[in-house]
Assembly symmetry: C2
């Protein structure tokens, strides 16, 4: 029996962008269904003693990440731009509001298209995804109706996202993207195929 794969993503994460853009096709080819789980890396990194992305803390690793991302994006045929180190749109971007909206969207059926649109705005076009006007436009284009921002900022939805972060801790998640198949953790866009194969094997 094929298992569902859980795709845990953070909007500030470069490698989550790669996965978000290619998981639908890769999962479909194996008959695996995917559950998209937005969460926040900030509290996860904080628990490891970091106040920003480790790619900013460890310079050699960060320099490598941007080079590796450019190569990987090219391999997948995806546009990609390096974000600035400071100023508007600097890496890592604040994905809190985007994550809250995505959570609403996953319940209402427009979350996956919205998530892809946000990642494209960020890493293909270099826009600042903390911009609520941009996010509301992308949500509407993905099929959302009414005051999405209000639903995203409602206390119940904020608590839902917090609960997701707590669940990520319990699952042993320490970075993004992460995949859960039958309780087993896989980390990184380069483990997507392993995780999908495990899910397909059931």
């Amino acid at each position: 029996m094929t298992h569902t794969l859980e795709f845990w993503f953070e909007f500030g994460s470069t490698y989550s962008y790669l996965t978000a853009m290619r998981i639908e096709e890769a999962a479909g080819a194996r008959g695996v269904s995917v559950r998209w789980r937005p969460f926040l890396l900030g509290p996860v990194f904080g628990a490891q003693g970091w106040n920003t992305s480790p790619f900013n803390i460890y310079k050699a690793k960060g320099d490598y990440m941007w080079r590796d991302m450019a190569r990987r994006a090219a391999r997948y045929g995806l546009p990609f731009r390096r974000l600035p180190e400071s100023g508007p749109g600097a890496f890592p971007q604040n994905g809190l509001t985007a994550a809250r909206m995505a959570l609403v969207g996953m319940e209402e059926g427009w979350g996956e298209a919205f998530t892809r649109a946000v990642y494209s705005a960020e890493f293909a076009d270099g826009h600042d995804i903390a911009d609520t006007t941009l996010l509301q436009r992308l949500a509407a284009e993905a099929g959302a109706t009414g005051d999405v921002l209000a639903r995203a900022q409602a206390q119940g939805n904020k608590d839902h996202l917090k609960a997701n972060v707590e669940e990520a801790f319990r699952l042993g998640i320490f970075g993004a993207p992460s995949f859960i198949v039958d309780g087993d953790l896989y980390w990184g866009d380069d483990r997507l195929e392993d995780a999908l194969d495990a899910a397909a094997a059931g």
Copy 2:
């Protein structure tokens, strides 16, 4: 024109074991020649503020690494055991003498077989690779003659290994295994195919 691929490895590194055991076949299939470059991660980690492997410092990441290594080793058909957290043979093992001997072996023609044998002793059999009696036996089995340990501990060879570590810093290397193709850095056993493809493309 096909480029040479440089394979930078540290004997304490779990993922370097995977690469050491499979690089010959993978490179041969693409007609790429490989230059094996032993170095030490201790000074590299020290520069990042770590006094041991990050897999020991960050527990969630470490727990995941052992799980991921077991799955990846199974995928490649390689035996693998988790090393103890303390006591003889604890992770990360001290690969200083092994690296010095491997450096001699690379010049004398028995270094690659020796390197594979050391990794197997460590991660398949759980032996302590700081044991010079074990290392001398493995070197002899790989084709070394005479007093290998004395040649490994000679000042010129010690300086050679130090120079390798300095070169690793200059190349931007921050972990192992790492691959260099025409000056371009690739990190991790899961980037071996990308690096080989780049070398084959020339």
